[in-house]
Symmetry: C2
Subunit: 198 residues, 2 copies
């Protein structure tokens, strides 16, 4: 049986750092393949009038502490709060989308989040982004190619697909039967779901 | 060593149904005592411009499904969405506060949430509330006593204490060292924290 989950993630979602860091190992152990799908959560949050953290200092303070605790439990490096929000022009999101079409989405996402959380740099900054792409051994014209209309259209299409699935946050895991799991803390449940389907 | 957690809950928070239903058994098994503290999450959400579900149909649909799945995992009865929001005049919150001073807060909270989730009735409705109080064997003047200035002041004081602790959601679990855990899905972590302190 083929078991898989679509893994919708947004470069800019803090909790997604945990999922991007640990999803592959857990999925592999469970025998589930993940399809990495970058999308614009920002677009959906704006449409829905949903502002999870901006203007909410208590919730934001808790979020960083919660990530710290959960990173420690999962053995994921964490060194405190990092710039937020990031990638205002969706440059990193577009490179992730190009990478999705070329088969290097996961390593890009991991390196983008590592750079954001551990180097404390905005992966949407063109120089930072060029460094990430170079470290992955991708060609120098990658950023330029990520600015094409095709890539932009695919990023919009991924976002449209996410919206149609009822996604309102990142990370989200979706089974082919439509079952949706939101949050790094639902990763295990999503994998169990995928494994329990006929 | 005495191990305990303050358990802040709001009668009107949907996810709190899960925590109210399962917190005592887990805490007992862990050797942790819980102090049940009703507070007005509505007050804090309004102050913080935080509207978790109202006007967010996708997130609300997910919330009910997520509760359904997690209730099934925990062996908690659930029969679908129930009226929301409830208790607009904080009547049930005030009875919970009176009950806190008299030592019957936990059975009241359990019966109020059971009535809300399984009978699909607003526990803030005076007739429904009178029925809950009667089923618990409390005297007929309980509702009247819950409308005193003292009870109202205590409910405000609990809310002030919650705010001072950085609480912005329900359920929340707080250790005496100030460590805060938000959400039914953090109950196990909160208990582990309480057990791991010197």
């Amino acid at each position: 049986m083929s078991r898989h989950l679509d893994f919708y993630f947004f470069i800019g979602s803090t909790y997604s750092y945990l999922a991007v860091s640990r999803a592959s190992a857990l999925a592999r152990a469970a025998g589930v393949s993940l399809r990495w799908r970058p999308f614009s959560l920002r677009t959906i949050l704006r449409e829905q009038g949903n502002s999870p953290f901006l203007g909410k200092p208590d919730k934001t303070r808790y979020m960083w502490r919660d990530i710290e605790r959960r990173a420690a439990r999962a053995g994921i490096a964490f060194s405190g709060p990092t710039p937020y929000p990031i990638d205002p022009e969706s440059r990193a999101g577009h490179v992730a989308t190009l990478a999705e079409t070329e088969g290097w989405c996961e390593p890009f996402a991991r390196e983008a989040f590592r750079t954001w959380f551990l180097d404390k740099l905005d992966p949407g900054n063109p120089e930072v982004l060029a460094g990430i792409v170079a470290r992955l051994g991708q060609p120098a014209d990658t950023l330029q190619r990520s600015e094409s209309a095709d890539v932009a259209a695919r990023y919009v299409a991924n976002t449209d697909a996410a919206r149609a699935l009822g996604i309102f946050g990142s990370p989200s895991f979706v089974h082919e039967d439509g079952e949706l799991f939101w949050g790094d803390d639902r990763l295990e449940e999503a994998l169990e779901w995928a494994c329990s389907r006929p």
